[in-house]
Amino acid sequence: MSGAVQTDRAPTSGPAGRGVRDPLVTGLVGLCLAAAAGLVVAPPAPYLVNALGQLAAFAILAVSLDLVWGYLGILSLGHGLFFAIGGYVCAMHLLAHGVAVTGVLPDFVQFMGWTSLPAYWTGLDHAPYALVLALALAGLVAFVFGLASFRSRVNGVYFSIISQALVYVAMLLMYRNDTGLGGNNGMTGFPLLFGWPMGSPGVVTGLAVAALLTLAAILAGTRRLVGSAVGRRMLACRDDETRLRTLGYSTTRLKLGIWCLSAMIAALAGILYVPQVGIINPRVLAPDLSIEIAVWVAIGGLGRLGGAVIGAVLVNGLKFWLSAAMPEAWPFILSGLVLLVVLVLPNGLLDLVALRPRPTWLRGAR
């Protein structure tokens, strides 16, 4: 067997936070619910509320990647694409909603010399339709790309770099001004959310609470999933896909299903993220950002849903703080953190914190 083919496979070393027993996830779900309640009862300064909401959106994104990377061994370097699909559709909804209420066209539409929104925006001012469209679009793109890749057994680093090319091409596409989606400036200046003025304290708190509750729901749901028979098959597929196939399971269908689910969760994160920052532009499609998602997961602890959340919150919290305090130093700190984790803490910072004794089922797993 060739060395290259051997190393192509997913790592077999990653442990997995499994099933309903994972107290870390229980704790995080409780924390999310408590934080949401706290925001409603005694809201702190709006910028803190906003930061908390953004962190929750990033955590959802990290969980979506951990689901495919940690439990299925598929490292996607293109998850920014699904995040962006959610974000763009959400931005379109907000703008279309604004046009429907105020009648004023967004700047970039006027800039292109159009007198109305392009035809494919029809109906986007209805929130349920926009939500369904975002999830369906993310799922569809994931399905087509996943089908093409998994069917031909593209996996390991091959899959990673092709998914990176995918997000890169999408970025080039969105930088064009003639797409009707804002070109390189993206879309911003959202006036209203469900009829309420954007940026008012109520809306800010509402968005943060929605993000926290969604995170709690996603955590609870994915924990159920990975604890189920499907979750066991995911781990089996990660560790020895050929073996699983020769036992009669269609791994293509398994991978495709989880992959599409992961893409839709990422899109959900994008939907929650965009109204909180008030802008979307092609830079969310930069390959570097998609790699950063993987970095959050690796830093927090690959293959542990709670690890993904902790990594996303930690790295982005640090980033919020440091890129304002010492912007020059941030890239060095980030790269140092990554090297530290991959070299010294193979299971991420959870190794360091050692929240609980290592469970017996981990001891043997390499």
Partner: protein, 232 residues
């Protein structure tokens, strides 16, 4: 069942028009020196490798060369790999549950898993992750996994490689116990004593061709076979 199979990797021909038929109820051993094409033969039957030409018929109707690995497995073919292939992150019980395959309904599983745990002698270790089992235990667990689906054709790739004499004897007994009228077993092995103990007939492969087919005793007397194994 196997009809005029030819497999090539680049310019190298691994199997050259190999044919053999294994009957239900039979234990057939395939022996041959390294590079004879034994593992390749199993790869083709289990769908990991597609042949250049030839067919692999299961029963009268299903040509396995046209099926995916999963479909082949669902048709009742199970393979034990040379290197023990169990899922290290899952417990013994979970491994066996996956081994039942997608066809066995959830209600029927616990009973079957319990039975197999008894057969392979891993009952006390059911909750241990497979990654921490000893080598021999992994071999048995894998045999248990492929048995869990009640296969019609069982492919065993060197099931006693690296085992102690006692473990080999245990495995030979296990395989003899697996013999059933509706099940064909194809074993690949180097250990002649083991082959003699379990096999009804042997097929000798050499450089991608069939050299001999018949009883083990006949193989021991065949001049060509002796030359291949002992000569040079």
């Amino acid at each position: 069942m196997v009809d005029a199979l030819t497999v090539a990797f680049g310019r190298f021909t691994a199997l050259d028009s190999v044919s053999l038929a294994v009957d239900p109820g039979e234990v057939r051993a395939v022996i041959g020196p390294n590079g004879a094409g034994k593992t390749t033969l199993l790869d083709v039957i289990s769908g990991l490798t597609k042949p250049v030409s030839g067919r692999v018929m299961l029963g009268d109707r299903i040509d396995l060369t046209q099926c995916s690995e999963a479909a082949i497995a669902r048709a009742g073919v199970r393979r034990k790999f040379q290197k023990p292939s169990v899922f290290p992150a899952l417990t013994v019980r979970e491994n066996l549950e996956i081994g039942c395959g997608p066809a066995v309904p959830g209600r029927a599983r616990p009973a079957r898993i319990a039975a197999i745990l008894g057969e392979i002698g891993l009952g006390p270790r059911a909750r241990v992750p497979a990654g921490s089992l000893a080598h021999g235990e992994k071999q048995w667990l894998e045999i248990g996994m492929v048995l869990a689906a009640e296969p019609a054709l069982l492919l065993l790739d060197e099931p006693v490689a690296g085992l102690s004499d006692a473990e080999t004897a245990h495995t030979a007994a296990l395989i003899r116990a697996l013999r059933r009228p509706d099940r064909a077993i194809l074993v690949i092995e180097h250990d002649m004593g083991f082959v003699e103990a379990v096999a009804d007939r042997v097929t000798v492969l050499h450089e991608g061709r069939t050299l001999y087919e018949g009883s083990m005793a006949g193989a021991r007397g065949d001049a060509q076979v002796i030359e291949v194994f002992l000569g040079r």
